[in-house]
């Protein structure tokens, strides 16, 4: 597991700025009292008093009804129509099974936070290196254990140990640290790019580090004599990052046993999650990983006010990372108490490889990476508790229709004494005219989903449900007569129900 550093010369003065801003205690307490008073008022539905303080312009007589949710995801799960076809006959056949005894057991233990490495070792992939280099200047004995790769990534497994130098803070960080890995083949010299974080474990008893370095694939050099050089060690201590200058060389002939194939399966199936729509474009399978490549309504590049483009966190990514736990001992691990996104293969959970969370796909793509799967024919993508996307064995399209979306809204309305019904054509026209009168900012973030049934003599003017928070709000006048006048002024003969997308 890597430490999070972007140390700068300004770290200390910026930290000081936090404590150097001193807020008057009396003012702080006054604000607290004001907030608590507003909460009291809010509770007794006296919204007029409460809204006097809010900076946002509030509508009159708004009554917010908080709906307690038992299980958010169950209650607000969306209709899923899922059909995935996999036309695939795929099995991993290691070109050359490697005997495991040469590897340090640490690489197949829970101390390595990459399930792909562990699976590859256990299934006998990889080329044994079994080479030792002694860095005399720093008294570090380096043991190169094995190398394994597919077409997108190379894993170089090595351990290093010292009797004199404390290696606790020594990292071979080619992502954000000062370490690099260089490839030399004949006259070709290339600095290799990282793929994710890689994995690291420090054994304090033995003062020994095990690292699974993760960098771009070098499979194109199969059959050639190659030299890899690990250049410099990054030291992360409490205050800064520094460099130990050194070169750790490794020369070997790249055998085909180090290289595993990747199989790509086109999926092109749509699903929706928390109000966003996604498409699973394809699934890629290799000995080191399973990649699920997705595009969606919120995976597109975002352009900020300065024209700078960047990726934002989609709801699916948020869900994927929700089950991620950072553990000092074991790196990025799965928090089994939390909901997330998983694959299920042959009935067993296939965990995400969170150390590859930084890998970016093509423009507009989001990539979820999981441990390798044995039998892709019997695989399901599970998003939270509600969404299951099966990959059928025989390739037939299967549809699972879940009516939760509709029923959840109906349930919410029913809990508040409302029944919804669709608008007639005339009512739709009324609504069009009404919406045209309103400023755009009031109408762009919501959709009409129906009208309140049998509620003509009500003081309610409109009902809205927040898609994100599952909160139902009503806008109502102080009495029925007033509500009737407001409706007439608006040109509406009914009480609209909106779905708010924020």
């Amino acid at each position: 597991m890597k430490k999070q550093y972007e140390d700068t010369e300004f770290d200390n003065p910026l930290k000081m700025l936090n404590s150097d801003l001193i807020w008057n205690k009396t003012k702080q307490q006054e604000l607290k009292n004001q907030i608590l008073l507003d909460l009291e008022n809010l509770e007794s539905s006296n919204i007029n008093k409460y809204s006097s303080r809010l900076t946002k312009a509030k509508k009159k007589n708004v009554k917010s009804t908080l709906i307690k949710r038992n299980t958010l995801y169950k209650r607000f799960s969306l209709a899923i129509i899922v059909c995935l076809i996999i036309i695939l006959t795929f099995s991993f056949t290691p070109a050359f099974a490697v005997i495991q005894k040469v590897y340090d057991k640490i690489f197949s233990s829970k101390h390595i936070d990459d399930a792909g490495v562990k699976t590859a070792i256990n299934q006998g992939y990889g080329q044994a290196l079994d080479q030792t280099f002694y860095d005399e200047k720093h008294d570090i004995k380096v043991h190169f254990e094995m190398i394994v790769m597919d077409d997108k990534e190379t894993k170089l497994l090595l351990t290093y140990q010292s009797e004199k130098t404390n290696l606790e803070n020594y990292y071979l960080d080619i992502f954000e640290g000062n370490t690099s890995i260089n490839l030399i083949v004949g006259k070709k010299h290339k600095k290799l790019k990282n793929v994710g974080w890689g994995s690291r474990y420090y054994d304090s008893k033995e003062n020994k580090v095990a690292e699974a370095e993760s960098f771009e694939s070098i499979k194109e050099f199969e059959g050639q004599d190659i030299r890899l050089e690990i250049e410099n060690i990054t030291i992360y201590d409490d205050n800064k990052a520094s460099t130990v200058q050194t070169i750790w060389p490794l020369s070997f002939k790249l055998d085909k046993s180090a290289i595993s194939k990747r199989k790509t399966v086109e999926i092109n199936k749509n699903f929706s999650f928390e109000g966003e729509t996604y498409k699973i474009k394809k699934v890629e399978l290799s000995a080191l990983e399973t990649r699920v490549i997705v595009t969606g309504s919120d995976t597109k590049l975002y352009t900020d006010e300065n024209g700078m483009q960047y990726k934002v966190m989609s709801k699916l990514e948020n869900k994927f990372l929700n089950a991620r736990k950072i553990d000092k001992k074991y790196g990025y691990i799965v928090d089994n108490n939390k909901s997330g996104v998983f694959l299920k293969s042959a009935g067993k959970k296939v965990v995400p490889i969170f150390s590859k969370g930084e890998i970016e796909g093509e423009k507009d793509e989001y990539i979820m990476i999981f441990a390798p799967i044995k039998d892709p024919q019997d695989c399901i993508l599970e998003i939270g508790d509600d969404i299951k996307i099966p990959m059928s064995k025989n390739g037939k399209v299967e549809k699972q229709v879940d009516g939760n979306d509709k029923s959840t809204i109906e349930e919410l309305l029913a809990e508040n004494g409302f029944i919804a019904e669709p608008l007639s054509n005339d009512e739709m026209k009324e609504l069009d005219i009404y919406l045209k009168k309103l400023p755009k900012e009031f109408t762009s973030d919501r959709t009409i989903i129906g009208k309140v049934s049998n509620y003509e003599n009500s003081k309610v003017i409109e009902v809205s449900i927040s898609e994100k928070s599952n909160i139902l709000s009503e806008v109502h006048a102080s009495n029925e007569e007033e509500a009737k006048i407001v409706r007439e002024e608006s040109g509406l003969s009914f009480i609209p129900i909106y779905l708010n997308h924020y």
Binding site: L21, L54, G357
Partner: protein, 179 residues
């Protein structure tokens, strides 16, 4: 009573995080009164949306994401072109703080001032990562950015801050060595 429990929790959260949230907002909007109002709204919103707090993150991260969203909304509304000229003309005054309510120690004033001059995107990532000390993961959650976006923006933001400090005459070679 559930609502009583919720209120107590909000009061606890206020005791623990209100100062940090107020100063975050203050650094973003550079106006004490607005910062106070937005801090108020943050805790009221936390109360209203309490049920949607899913413990996906700490309550501090959640409160900061509410504060951030409110601040972004506020800044967006404050930015119509009609006010643009006025905004730039009065920017220096906006940086002044009501001393009886909020004070800033002299050593840090230059950083407060320089931060106020750089663009919002850079300012917020510096404030969250370097001043508030949030992790990359939590900063990404608060800003709804990808983690790599947090890192790359911070990487670009620090030299911009440095340039601003030099421009304002707060930084010279000697000062760099001091830090």
């Amino acid at each position: 009573m559930l609502s009583e429990y919720r209120k107590e929790e909000i009061a606890d959260w206020y005791d623990q995080h209100s100062k940090s949230i107020l100063t975050f907002i203050l650094l973003m909007v550079k106006d004490y009164q607005q910062a106070e109002d937005l801090t108020h709204d943050t805790f009221v919103k936390a109360y209203l949306y309490y049920d949607s707090f899913k413990n996906h993150s700490s309550e501090k991260t959640w409160l900061f994401s509410i504060a951030h969203n409110l601040t972004v909304d506020f800044l967006r509304k404050r930015k119509p072109s009609i006010f643009l000229r006025e905004f730039f003309l009065s920017q220096k005054d906006n940086n002044l703080l009501p001393e009886d309510i909020i004070k800033i120690k002299e050593n840090s004033y230059e950083f407060y001032k320089a931060l106020g001059e750089i663009k919002d995107t850079y300012r917020k990532v510096i404030v969250l990562r370097k001043i508030k000390g949030f992790s990359i993961e939590d900063t990404a959650k608060i800003l709804n950015w990808s983690e790599s976006k947090v890192k790359s923006t911070l990487f670009r933001a620090i030299p911009v801050l440095k340039k601003q400090l030099i421009k304002e005459g707060f930084l010279n070679e000697e000062a760099i060595r001091r830090y």
